[in-house]
């Protein structure tokens, strides 16, 4: 790379160096196999896979998705083929890909998380893990994400089980997201991603009940949550030194750069992938071009340095 040129690489730690900061968010890209047939996924910064659980899951009854103003609610229920299948079958494809694959792992207790990590640790082609401690759509999905002590204990146990890069996906459905971020950093997380979906509800007046089944709630994503996600990234950035992966409502290059201003080191594009399968690649190209035009050497030069809070 010539002197003065924009360096897009992002070091998440433990040898997990992303070629660029534009990744795709868990739950919006499967394991890459559908998108592989539609676009050149190898150029992406990273694929954060669908949440993967100890055993296969069929997912929740429909309806599972509902659109809202500028957003989308989902209650998929972590439908996935289970960690053994991912480790045995999918990882063989991952190993042939240039794009780093970070497997998102979701489980109900510490032992299950550690079990998943041990199974995946024996598989090739996995650049790291994203611990999903923030799924709003399954029983116990949020247990670890809401409590800094529980989150710290979980990360301590998982940290002891792997040398691979460990990203922890934070829940926004907490009073103090910074406290959870600090706890997982102290416990050995290499990076955090902020944030998962916000618990939301859509009501259908005609049937006088929520559109989504069960408790009637789902996870809200899309442009509607971008200001909330930016605020969460800024709070987390102020609380930790490890890299922060920003996620929430990103749809274009300006959104990406705004997350860098708020304190992100990398980003994930989520719901926008559903509306346009090539959006992440287009955004990547635009981010690179805009960064060059701005004369940046690293996108983190955009970072806002907040004034100290008055006493």
């Amino acid at each position: 790379m010539s002197d003065g040129a924009l360096d897009l690489r992002v070091d998440l730690g433990r040898g997990c160096v992303l070629p660029n900061p534009v990744g795709v968010a868990s739950g919006t890209f499967g394991y890459g196999f559908e998108f592989e047939q539609l676009v050149d996924i190898q150029r992406l910064g990273a694929i954060y896979t669908k949440g993967t659980t100890p055993l296969p899951r069929e997912g929740n009854p429909p309806p599972r998705v509902a659109e809202t103003a500028g957003g989308m609610l989902n209650s998929i229920g972590l439908q996935n083929p289970g960690v053994e299948h991912v480790a045995r079958e999918y990882s063989r494809s991952f190993a042939t890909w240039r794009v780093p694959v970070i497997v998102n792992v979701a489980a109900a207790d510490v032992d299950e998380y550690v079990h998943c990590i041990r199974v995946l640790d024996g598989a090739p082609g996995i650049a790291g893990y994203e611990l999903n401690i923030s799924c709003p759509n399954i029983a116990h999905g949020l247990d670890f994400g809401l409590d800094p002590l529980a989150a710290g204990r979980l990360v301590t146990a998982v940290r002891a089980a792997t040398e691979r890069c460990l990203v922890v996906k934070l829940s926004p459905n907490v009073t103090d997201v910074a406290a959870v971020a600090r706890a997982v950093e102290d416990a050995g997380a290499d990076a955090v991603s902020a944030v998962n979906t916000f618990v939301g509800m859509k009501v259908h007046l005609g049937i006088r009940r929520p559109v989504l089944p069960n408790r009637g709630t789902g996870g809200l994503s899309g442009p509607a949550i971008k200001p909330l996600a930016l605020a969460a990234v800024a709070r987390v950035r102020a609380a930790v030194r490890i890299p922060v992966v920003g996620v929430g409502g990103i749809g274009d290059a300006a959104d990406v750069l705004e997350f860098f201003v708020a304190g992100a080191d990398a980003v994930q594009i989520g719901t926008a992938n559903f509306a346009d399968p090539s959006v992440a690649l287009r955004v990547l190209d635009e981010v690179a071009a805009t960064g060059e035009r701005m004369g940046l050497r690293r996108l983190t030069e955009l970072r806002w340095q907040p004034a100290p809070t008055p006493a």
Binding site: E34, E58, P63, V65, M72, A275, P277
Partner: protein, 281 residues
């Protein structure tokens, strides 16, 4: 499972937006890839407007192909279809397609019947044309709607082709058979059939499946086109789950990949009946 490699994102000009009466709208757009590749029963994900509302694309069956033009039939049920209906010639429409699993057609079939309830008419103009092109000599379209004004115009099923016959039914008796379209299936079966294809509201599809369950005159090819609230349309969001029979129990199948067309006997009709209609989401 549908082959996503056939799908392509393309943007083309709207040619016309036609009011068909009774609230039905047919939108015609210049979409050469879709026109060259779509098979009856497959769909396209259409971007309905430039802004964040609606955020997601909407799935529409390809209703008709003429050269490089494709048409879609819908009514104004939400923000997406209202925006589509408000498009004018020259506006740009973005389409990802063809997507999904379509109807089973083959040159060995001699007589096929389409059962179309209301907007379930959408896939059948193209099916009739592709059936005729394959040399299937006898295509019958049974088309029902609440009232005559809401029937898709019969000449748009036939489009001047010989061998395509349309039989109509209305709930209020304003045209054709006074009653449900499903009541017309028995007479059609009498002539001997090689395939039945159905599209329409879930209760109509369930009734069609019941009429065709068992019996000597029932053909092997008995297919329904279903719908479900969809996020992506290509199997990634896992949002469009439908209940199907699998391994002796009920499992979820994705409407967008395993469907929208499935064998009638694969669908768990009891479980489907318990779900809210797709438009609720």
């Amino acid at each position: 499972m549908s082959d996503l490699r056939r799908a392509r994102d393309e943007t083309g000009a709207v040619i016309a937006v036609e009011e068909l009466g009774g609230g039905l709208v047919e939108l015609i757009a210049h979409l050469p890839h879709l026109a060259a590749t779509a098979r009856a029963g497959e769909f396209a994900q259409l971007r309905c407007g430039p802004g964040p509302v609606p955020l997601l694309r909407r799935p529409f069956s390809v209703a008709w192909i003429d050269g490089e033009h494709c048409s879609f039939v819908f009514e104004r049920v939400g923000v997406g279809t209202r925006l589509l209906a408000a498009m004018r010639p020259g506006d740009l429409l973005t389409s990802l397609g063809p997507l999904g699993t379509g109807f089973t057609l083959s040159p060995s079939l001699r007589r096929v019947v389409c059962v179309a309830g209301g907007l379930g008419c959408a896939p059948f103009p193209l099916l009739a044309a592709q059936a005729v092109a394959l040399g299937i000599p006898d295509v019958v379209v049974l088309h029902g709607a609440a009232t005559a004004a809401r029937l898709y115009p019969r000449e748009r099923f036939t489009r001047g082709l010989t061998g395509v016959q349309v039989v109509e039914a209305t709930d209020d008796g304003t045209r054709g058979h006074h009653g449900l379209v499903v009541e017309l299936i028995g007479a059609a079966l009498g002539g001997g059939l090689d395939a039945v294809y159905a599209c329409g509201p879930n209760p109509m599809l369930a009734a069609t499946a019941r009429v065709l369950h068992g019996g000597a005159a029932v053909p092997d090819i008995r297919e329904v086109s279903l719908e479900a609230p969809m996020g992506c349309g290509f199997g990634t969001c896992l949002g469009c789950a439908l209940p199907v029979h699998r391994d002796g129990g009920t499992a979820w199948a994705l409407c967008c990949r395993e469907g929208p067309v499935m064998h009638m006997d694969a669908v768990d009709w009891d479980a489907l009946r318990a779900l809210p209609p797709a438009h609720v989401a």
